[in-house]
Symmetry: C2
Subunit: 66 residues, 2 copies
């Protein structure tokens, strides 16, 4: 299991938390949004997922990974 913390722009409320954490769960990762910090801590299996796929899942929800 690999852990990364991504800086994500545009997250502003509980709905945003749910959409991002839900999208990560859908692809088989586990995410925890820190709204005030503007970050998403992600745990994922490197044999199953790439960091690119993680970022894409977040960006598809309408947020920018910076």
């Amino acid at each position: 299991m690999k852990n990364v913390t991504l800086k994500v722009e545009g997250m502003s409320c509980g709905h945003c938390v749910n959409s991002i954490e839900g999208a990560l769960k859908t692809i088989g990762a586990s995410g925890k949004v820190d709204l005030s910090g503007g970050t998403v801590a992600v745990a994922y299996d490197e044999s199953q997922l790439t960091i690119t796929a993680i970022k894409e899942a977040i960006e598809e929800q309408g947020y920018d990974v910076v």
Copy 2:
């Protein structure tokens, strides 16, 4: 049809817009959120709905009508 514009706190993103406009639609009113202005313009039939019911529908979504 009566039109009122309410000042609402806590609306921050597109999900918020959808949740408030959806809640108003559910009770038979029509709402338009102005995120940057922090307002919700509501059109409703006074013979069917009260302003109290309108405010409650918004507050039930987790926002404060001020």
